[in-house]
C-alpha cells in the first residue's frame, strides 16, 4: 500500500485542526444566546448589595449586606439608574427605566468586551458602565464601583419578569 507523503499528511493536520477549531467555534456560538439577546426584556430589581460593608459607619442605614432605601438613594444620586425598579431593555438599543416615584426615563444601552460590560448613555453626555457579573434567562447581576460609605463593589440583582 502506498504511503501518503509527509507534506500531505502535514497539510491534513493543519487544515483539520483549523476546520475543527472553526466547527467548535460555530457549535459554541449557536448553542447559547448571545448576551445582547439574553438581556432583551423586562427586568425587576430584587436587591442592592455591597460586597463589603463599612461597619464603622452608622449601622442604622445598613441591614447586613443589603442596602437600605436611604443609602441606595444616596448611592444612586448621581447615577443614571437612580431609583429605577423596572428596566426594560429593547432590541433597538434603548432602555426604559421605570420607577414609582419618578416619570419613566429612556436611555441608550450597549454591550462591550465579550458582553461583560453594560454601558448606559443618557442624552449622549452622561455615560456609565456596569460589569455584568451574571446573565441568564432568569437573572441579571450588575456590579459597579462606588465611593460611598460602604466599600467595595455594589451589586444589583434583577429577575426577568417578561
Amino acid at each position: 500500500m502506498r504511503r501518503i507523503p509527509f507534506h500531505i499528511r502535514q497539510a491534513f493536520v493543519y487544515v483539520g485542526g483549523l476546520a475543527a477549531t472553526i466547527c467548535l467555534f460555530f457549535v459554541l456560538v449557536s448553542s447559547t444566546a448571545s448576551p445582547d439577546q439574553l438581556i432583551v426584556g423586562t427586568w425587576e430589581e430584587v436587591t442592592w448589595k455591597y460586597e463589603k460593608v463599612d461597619k464603622s459607619q452608622d449601622d442604622s442605614i445598613f441591614s447586613g449586606e443589603e442596602i437600605s432605601e436611604t443609602l441606595k438613594n444616596q448611592i444612586a444620586k448621581n447615577l443614571i439608574i437612580h431609583q429605577s425598579e423596572k428596566w426594560r431593555f429593547r432590541k433597538d438599543g434603548t432602555l426604559q427605566l421605570s420607577s414609582r416615584q419618578k416619570p419613566d426615563k429612556t436611555i441608550h444601552w450597549t454591550m462591550k468586551g465579550r458582553g461583560h460590560v453594560l454601558v448606559m448613555q443618557h442624552n449622549q453626555t452622561v455615560e456609565e458602565s456596569y460589569d455584568i457579573a451574571k446573565l441568564t434567562d432568569k437573572e441579571l447581576v450588575l456590579h459597579f464601583h462606588t465611593q460611598m460609605q460602604a466599600r467595595g463593589i455594589a451589586k444589583i440583582t434583577f429577575k426577568k419578569i417578561r
Binding site: K112, G113, R114, G115, H116, S129
Partner: protein
C-alpha cells in the same frame, strides 16, 4: 530595523524595532480598552477569562474568547509563515508584509469605527478580534526576525527578565557584561515605549476617537519607511560603488593606451 534577520541584528536594530512596535502596541491596547473594554495586545488575561467562562458554562463567551486567542495565534503563525517562506527571495518584503497586513487590520478598525460602528456586541467582538490578529502579526514578526529577543505586545515576560537582570546587576561581574547591559537597555526601551504609547493613546482618544488608529498606522509606516529609505540609500551607495569600481577598471585598461597616445603623437 526590518532588513536584518536573527543573529545578524545589532542591539540598535532591536531597540529601534522594539521601541516603535511596542509604542504602537501600547496605543492599540489602551485604545481598545477605552473603546471596547477588552485588551488586545496580550492574551494571558484572555486565557484566564476562557478558563473562568468554561467553569461557569458561558458557552457563547467561551467561543468569543477562544476565537480571540485563536486569531492572536493565527497572526503569529502567519507572520512567521510569511518570513520563513519569503525570506530567501526578498528579506525586506518578507519582513514588511506582516506589518502591511497589520496596517490593513488597524485601518479597517479605524475607518469602520469612525463611519459605520453602531456599537453592537457583534461589531465589538469582530473589531477586538481584528486587533488581536494585528497584534499577533506584529508580535510574530518582531519575535521571529529578532531570534525571539524582541516581543513587544505584552510585558509579563519582559518584566520578569528585567527583574532578573536588575538583580544580576547587583554584582559587578554582571554589570560589566555588555551583552546583559544591552539586553536591559532593550527591555527598558520596550517597556517605556509601550507605556508611552498607552498614555498618548489615552490622551489622544478624547480628541481623535477612532482616528487614534490612524496615528498607530502612521507609527508602523515609519518603521516601513525607515527601512525602505535605508534600502534605497544602500542601493544608491552600492550602485555608486559599482560604478566607481567599473570606472577604475576601465581606467586601468585604458591607462596603457593613454600612455601610448603621447608617444604616438610624439612620433
Amino acid at each position: 530595523m526590518l532588513r536584518k534577520f536573527s543573529n545578524s541584528r545589532s542591539l540598535k536594530d532591536n531597540i529601534q524595532l522594539g521601541a516603535l512596535t511596542a509604542f504602537s502596541a501600547g496605543m492599540v491596547n489602551v485604545a481598545s480598552l477605552i473603546i471596547f473594554f477588552a485588551f488586545t495586545s496580550n492574551v494571558t488575561g484572555h486565557y484566564a477569562i476562557l478558563a473562568e467562562e468554561i467553569a461557569s458554562g458561558q458557552w457563547y463567551q467561551v467561543a468569543v474568547v477562544m476565537g480571540w486567542i485563536v486569531l492572536f495565534f493565527t497572526g503569529n503563525f502567519l507572520s512567521n509563515f510569511i518570513i520563513i517562506n519569503l525570506n530567501q527571495k526578498n528579506a525586506y518584503i518578507a519582513h514588511s508584509l506582516p506589518l502591511i497586513l497589520e496596517i490593513g487590520c488597524l485601518l479597517t478598525v479605524g475607518i469602520y469605527g469612525q463611519y459605520y460602528y453602531q456599537e453592537t456586541l457583534t461589531e465589538t467582538e469582530i473589531m477586538v478580534a481584528l486587533m488581536l490578529f494585528a497584534m499577533g502579526l506584529q508580535n510574530g514578526l518582531t519575535a521571529s526576525i529578532s531570534n525571539f529577543t524582541v516581543k513587544t505586545t505584552h510585558l509579563t515576560g519582559l518584566t520578569t527578565d528585567l527583574a532578573i537582570l536588575f538583580s544580576m546587576f547587583t554584582q559587578k561581574k554582571y554589570r560589566t557584561n555588555d551583552s546583559l547591559v544591552g539586553r536591559a537597555k532593550l527591555l527598558v526601551s520596550i517597556a517605556v515605549s509601550y507605556l508611552s504609547g498607552g498614555i498618548i493613546s489615552g490622551l489622544l482618544y478624547g480628541r481623535l476617537q477612532f482616528r487614534v488608529f490612524y496615528v498607530v498606522v502612521f507609527v508602523i509606516l515609519i518603521i516601513l519607511a525607515y527601512d525602505y529609505s535605508r534600502l534605497r540609500v544602500l542601493k544608491l551607495i552600492k550602485s555608486r560603488r559599482i560604478d566607481r569600481m567599473r570606472k577604475e577598471k576601465n581606467d586601468n585598461i585604458t591607462v596603457p593606451t593613454q600612455t601610448k597616445q603621447p608617444e604616438e603623437q610624439f612620433v
